[in-house]
């Protein structure tokens, strides 16, 4: 503490030395006077006394200097002087400063921007208490893939497991809120009573669910999300206890969640959406959908402090193995997945962010190399200045420090300029990019600013060290005697050559990465999705309420909806389906072929099941390969029929004719379904994943009708222009039922590659910046070399060399550097591109065409960048060149 006090006083004196300075001198003079008086009293002559006093003080000037050093902070003072000196120099050469600051602003800005996103998305802990304890649990043999489980399995896990403080259920729920001016479809979730306790959140208003409310007849209670409460209920503080109508059923509001609660577990499992309304799952074991093989529930667990995901998984697998023995036909294996929530949430974007961080790191290194190059060029002009200062007694360390301070000043200015793009990036990503969880929290906060500061200082030191060391090592006598041109120039030239090689190598690595991603995207956009998204409008149409409990009513409703929409002008075809391609969800059902039923039906293959109205295949332009399409005559009275995809046909009946074959669907209890047609494969979930098995059943024949269907409308003109008319037609059937999300299907395709497009755009932008910096670097080195050699070139010309020869020699030099850089870059890229891994599609990480193309591009750029300055060789006037010095 005392030391801090002393330091602060010294700091204050450093900043405002005035009065203290005089006092020090006064005190020393008073000391001398007292001493002299004393000596005279002891019998010395005044001269002797004065001499004695000065001698004992060790010289007035020295004593003053010692006191000044103690009264202030000399280290800080000299750094401040260095900063002032550096700032003066930067102002004196504005061109150099602007180029250097801009270069660094690009390099540092890109890094800070990416870091701020990584900090918010990957590094910051999830906004829950002890977030590391939260895991997602499900059945499945892949321990890293999040899956679902069934109610019966969850009940057993919860009763028998010792690894969890709480195991909570949750599932998708999209109720329709009525009672306002129009019906609104909400996104919500049904959860078990312990869910919010597991998360570690308590309602801001009201209370949490009670265990007894998590039952079939008591589950009519709801907790509202903060946003919905504000938007639909005017933030009414008396909302608790009031009732609201969800799906035309009365629910009592028992609580409101705090504004800070962000349901990330929903986004991590059910896709990019929020959850505004919560209600208990409310199952009991007697219900058919609570069955052991009804795996449609997600599980969120909070681990005990002494458990890890691995130990929890081992325990659950032991339990599940026992359950498998008790119910042999309900499980295919005893696999369990336990995935930390944080990993599941950011897993898909982690690869992209890490690759981008690598790319911006490369850009910064190139910027450093370029700056070092600029500094080396300038160093030659400053050799004299440094030599003079050393000759005047400045230590080498002192000069070195001054040069580095100057550089750090440049880098800090660059970093400050770079904060502008860094502040904008998260917004740009949010506007154009893929959905990145928690992106909204990316901002220029203290850790990010500290990162920027650290990066700036590191950049300043890194780029400045080599030139500064060279400068201070220069031979004093040589420099002072004959000015600039001496042997030191050759060493500097070699160093600059090495820098260019490094720069080319780094650029090549980046360009290869960007090139591979361009080719991936091109390949991906070439992939036939299996349907024709152009000109298709899609809408969500749901039916809710007691009137629609009868499946026949639901079917009649959707038949009527499709018919009325089809009758609209501008509509070519319209049909409904339970799920549409790239919509983000599907229902999987077991496929049990006749004559080949496995002993355990749970081990039969599973296929995506689409429940569709007649004409859906045609409306989506999914090609009919064999057999016939589903028809309106395939209704409840006719024998059940279905279409299968080509992949399904090949896997289930390899080498056989699938037409006329019979299967059971989703268990072996139901009727036999006859295959009447084979249709083309559709990439249903993602364009970059191979198509899965699929089957299409007429919704008129499928035992239970989905209460939410997607209406697919093929239009003659731009699809969205018909949106209002189509919505009106749907409402005209029953105005009380919600219609939502009218979107052009083509938008789904675009969205499914948006992530790639944005990471590609960013990587390409960084690669272009790198290429530009690289060209600038080569240009600088060549033009400097030409300037240095003017005299030599003049002599050669005078001796009869042809200008063309000299130009060629100069170009050869530039190209040699570029080729060395390309060779090094190819080696580096071969090692690094495999980290692109999942970001690539349909192209090898060592794709020869990309490598060759990029190498050629770089060679061409290098040639151009050295040709421009090298041309000056031909314009050298021998007489002038020889007279110049």
């Amino acid at each position: 503490m005392r030391a801090v006090r002393a330091w602060l006083i010294r700091l204050a004196t450093t900043l405002r030395p005035g009065r203290r300075e005089r006092e020090l001198t006064d005190e020393l003079e008073s000391h001398l006077q007292l001493h002299i008086d004393d000596c005279i009293r002891r019998g010395m002559s005044p001269e002797e006394a004065r001499r004695e006093a000065r001698l004992r003080l060790g010289g007035l000037a020295q004593a003053q200097e010692d006191m000044r050093a103690r009264s202030r902070l000399p280290a800080l003072e000299s750094i401040a002087a260095d900063v002032r000196f550096g700032a003066r120099l930067l102002r004196k050469s504005p061109g150099f400063s602007a180029v250097a600051i801009l270069t660094l602003a690009l390099g540092i800005g890109a890094n800070v921007a990416i870091f701020s996103v990584i900090d918010a998305v990957l590094l910051a802990p999830l906004p829950y208490p002890d977030p590391d304890e939260l895991v997602l649990v499900g059945e499945g043999d892949d321990p890293d893939r999040v899956t679902t489980t069934s109610y019966a399995t969850w009940v057993d896990w919860r009763a028998r497991s010792r690894s969890f403080q709480e195991l909570a259920l949750f599932r998708d729920w999209s109720p329709t809120l009525t009672g306002g001016d129009r019906a609104e479809q909400l996104s919500g979730a049904r959860v078990s009573a312990g869910f919010f306790r597991a998360v570690g959140v308590t309602p801001a208003l009201g209370r949490d669910f009670r265990p007894e409310e998590d039952a079939p007849d008591t589950r009519r209670v709801a907790i509202l999300g903060h946003e919905l409460w504000r938007r639909r209920f005017g933030a009414d503080p008396a909302i608790v206890g009031r009732t609201i109508a969800l799906n035309e059923t009365t629910y009592t509001v028992i609580g409101v969640l705090p504004a800070s609660f962000d349901p990330l577990m929903i986004e991590a499992t059910l896709g990019p959406r929020s959850a505004d309304v919560w209600s208990p799952v409310g199952y009991d074991a007697a219900q058919p959908w609570a069955c052991r093989s009804c795996r449609h529930l997600h599980v969120l667990g909070r681990l005990r402090a002494d458990a890890s995901p691995a130990t929890a998984r081992a325990e659950l697998e032991t339990l599940t193995a026992a359950m498998w023995r008790e119910h042999p036909t309900d499980y295919a294996d005893a696999g369990v997945s336990v995935v930390p929530l944080a990993r599941q949430l950011v897993g898909p974007v982690r690869a992209m962010l890490v690759v981008l961080l690598g790319a911006v790191g490369c850009v910064l290194l190139i910027a450093c190399v370029n700056l070092a190059n600029l500094l080396l060029a300038r160093a030659t002009n400053r050799r004299r200045e440094v030599a003079v200062r050393v000759a005047l007694g400045a230590g080498r360390g002192r000069v070195l420090r001054q040069l580095l301070v100057e550089n750090c000043l440049l880098a800090l200015l660059g970093a400050a300029a770079g904060l502008v793009p860094a502040a904008l990036l998260p917004q740009v990503l949010a506007a154009f990019g893929p959905r990145i969880p928690r992106l909204a929290e990316a901002r220029l906060d203290v850790p990010v600013l500290l990162f920027a500061l650290g990066l700036a200082l590191a950049t300043g030191l890194l780029s400045g060290l080599a030139p500064a060391l060279r400068l201070t090592r220069a031979d004093l006598h040589d420099t002072l005697r004959d000015g600039a041109r001496s042997s030191a120039g050759a060493a500097a030239g070699r160093m600059r050559g090495a820098l260019v090689v490094a720069e080319v190598a780094l650029s090549l690595t980046l360009l290869v990465g960007a090139g591979l991603m361009v080719r991936s995207l091109a390949r991906l956009l070439d992939v036939p999705p299996g349907f024709d998204p152009r000109g298709v409008l899609t809408l969500n149409a749901a039916v809710v309420g007691p009137r629609y409990e009868d499946d026949a009513v639901v079917r009649r409703h959707f038949d009527e909806v499709a018919a009325r929409v089809r009758a609209l002008p501008g509509v070519e075809a319209a049909a409904v389906a339970s799920q549409i391609p790239l919509g983000g969800n599907f229902d999987g059902y077991g496929v049990h072929p006749e004559g080949r039923l496995a002993a355990n039906p749970a081990q039969d293959p599973s296929a995506q099941r689409f429940s569709v109205s007649p004409g859906y295949i045609a409306a989506m332009r999914i090609p009919l390969v064999r057999g016939r399409d589903l028809a309106a005559t395939d209704d409840g009275g006719a024998p059940p029929v279905l279409l299968v995809s080509q992949t399904t046909a090949e896997r289930v009946w390899p080498g056989e004719d699938p037409l006329g074959k019979r299967v059971k669907i989703g268990g072996t209890d139901g009727p036999w379904w006859t295959v009447v047609g084979v249709v083309g494969d559709v990439r249903h979930m993602r364009l970059d994943q191979p198509p899965a098995m699929a089957m299409y059943v007429p919704y008129a024949q499928f035992p239970n009708v989905d209460s939410q269907m997607i209406l697919a409308v093929r239009t003659h003109g731009p699809p969205l222009e018909l949106a209002a008319a189509v919505e009106g037609a749907v409402r005209s059937v029953d105005a009380s039922q919600p219609v939502s999300r009218a979107v052009a299907l083509e938008g789904f395709v675009a969205r499914s590659v948006a992530g790639r497009r944005v990471s590609l755009a960013m990587l390409a932008a960084f690669a272009v910046v790198a290429l530009l910096l690289c060209a600038i670097g080569i240009y600088g080195v060549t033009s400097y070399a030409v300037a240095q050699r003017t005299r030599e070139l003049g002599i050669r010309l005078a001796l009869g060399a042809r200008p063309g020869q000299l130009l060629l020699a100069q170009l050869r030099q530039g190209l040699a550097l570029a080729l060395a850089g390309i060779a090094a870059g190819v080696a580096a890229a071969l090692g690094l591109t495999r980290f692109l891994g999942s970001l690539l599609y349909g192209v090898s990480a060592t794709d020869p065409a990309t490598f060759a193309g990029v190498a050629l591009l770089l060679a061409a750029v290098a040639l151009a960048a050295s040709y421009l300055p090298a041309r000056r060789v031909t314009r050298v006037d021998p007489t002038q060149a020889l007279r110049a010095e």
Partner: protein
């Protein structure tokens, strides 16, 4: 000890504080002379290092200063001990005694009992 030794590193501060404690407020020259006298003129204070040391003690708050008039009517800066300074004397004196006791053990080692 040889005559006329320079003050050892690190002990000057303690001597200054102790002098101010015994003598009351004094100016720099007075403190230096007093230290020399107390040592029986066997110590020589380097006046050039005395003033930075005083400055350090003042910055740390162990002493405070004010301009005043000396006995022979010269203007001089007088230092006095603060409360923190008094506590510091106790601390440093204890440290010093421990240090000398340790050195003394090395100089006249007592036979140690063999461990049983």
């Amino acid at each position: 000890m040889s005559p006329n030794t320079e003050v050892w590193q690190g002990t000057l501060a303690l001597m200054v504080l102790k002098t101010l404690e015994t003598m009351g407020p004094m100016h720099g020259y007075g403190i230096a002379r007093r230290i020399e006298q107390t040592s029986g003129n066997r110590l020589i204070v380097n006046y050039g290092t005395l003033y930075p040391a005083l400055l350090k003690l003042e910055q740390e708050g162990h002493i405070a200063s004010a301009w005043g008039e000396s006995e022979n009517r010269r203007r001089a800066k007088f230092y006095r001990l603060t409360r923190a300074g008094r506590r510091q004397i106790a601390r440093e004196a204890a440290d010093w005694e421990t240090a000398t006791a340790i050195v003394a053990r090395f100089l006249s080692p007592r036979p140690q009992k063999e461990p049983s």
